[in-house]
């Protein structure tokens, strides 16, 4: 039901979607997020991770999501290694009976994946120079939203 996968090769979105869609008759809503390498002045990116810890952090985040919302399925697949522009870097899918839970859980997982899972990206810029990506303050803010008193839990 709950899956985490790190892939060193290009994500096959059709295969991932097909595998995720099943015959569980209680599922009424599937929300999927696909993150794609944008080409704003960069040629490629490289994703480093902390083997073992990354998988365990992501699995635990799925467990927290499943405690907050009635999820039927959840899957996180993240690229590692080198990726060209326009290739998918991450795919997160959540299935639930109703859409409110699926939307919230998918966004929750993405928000934490951005700042709380041990991945580090570097970008190859137009001049052929590799630069480590800095954390965006908005990303930290978005993750913090889920922790306060007014966290968007159940809609």
């Amino acid at each position: 039901m709950f899956e985490v996968e790190l892939s060193a090769t290009e994500l096959d979105l059709s295969a991932l979607n097909q595998r995720f869609m099943g015959t569980d008759e209680s599922i009424g809503a599937v929300v999927s997020f696909t993150g794609i390498v944008r080409g704003n002045g960069i040629q490629a990116i490289e994703v480093e991770h902390y083997p073992g810890m990354t998988e365990s952090v992501l699995s635990k985040k799925i467990e927290s999501a499943a405690k907050r919302w009635p999820l039927r399925k959840a899957s996180i697949v993240h690229r590692i290694g080198s990726l060209p522009v326009s290739e998918p870097i991450v795919w997160v899918s959540v299935a639930s009976a109703h859409r409110a839970a699926a939307f919230l859980a998918c966004e929750f997982l993405m928000d934490f994946l951005k700042v709380d899972a041990p991945f580090w990206k570097k970008e190859l810029d137009a001049n052929g120079v590799w630069k480590w990506v800095e954390v965006r303050s908005q990303d930290q803010d978005r993750a913090n939203r889920w922790m306060g008193r007014y966290a968007p839990t159940q809609a």
């Binding site: 902390y50 073992g52 991450v90 951005k114 041990p118 580090w120 570097k122 480590w132 954390v135």
Partner: protein, 83 residues
């Protein structure tokens, strides 16, 4: 003990792990970090002492006061940038 380094920290240090003498342990994460900072270049020292650097012990992020034992797996890394 081998301490793992990731991303910029690994680049500045020039290797993905640092050997640290077991007999200096236990130490708090903060103390360990200070000792470790003296083992590399000035660039490495500065990067490791940045307040936003994380320490994971046995693959869990811990606080600066956490006490590290010789048989722990320890890693230091800059802010994470997934997705």
């Amino acid at each position: 003990m081998n301490i793992l380094l990731f991303a910029q920290l690994r680049d500045y240090y020039g290797a993905s792990s640092v050997t640290f003498p077991d007999d200096e342990l236990p130490l708090t994460v903060d103390e360990l970090r200070s000792s470790l900072a003296g083992l590399g270049s000035e660039e490495f020292r500065q990067a490791l002492l940045e307040p936003n650097v994380f320490c994971a012990v046995n693959q869990k992020v811990v606080e600066p006061k956490y006490i590290v034992q010789a048989d722990d797996e320890v890693g230091f890394f800059p802010p994470m940038t997934g997705g």
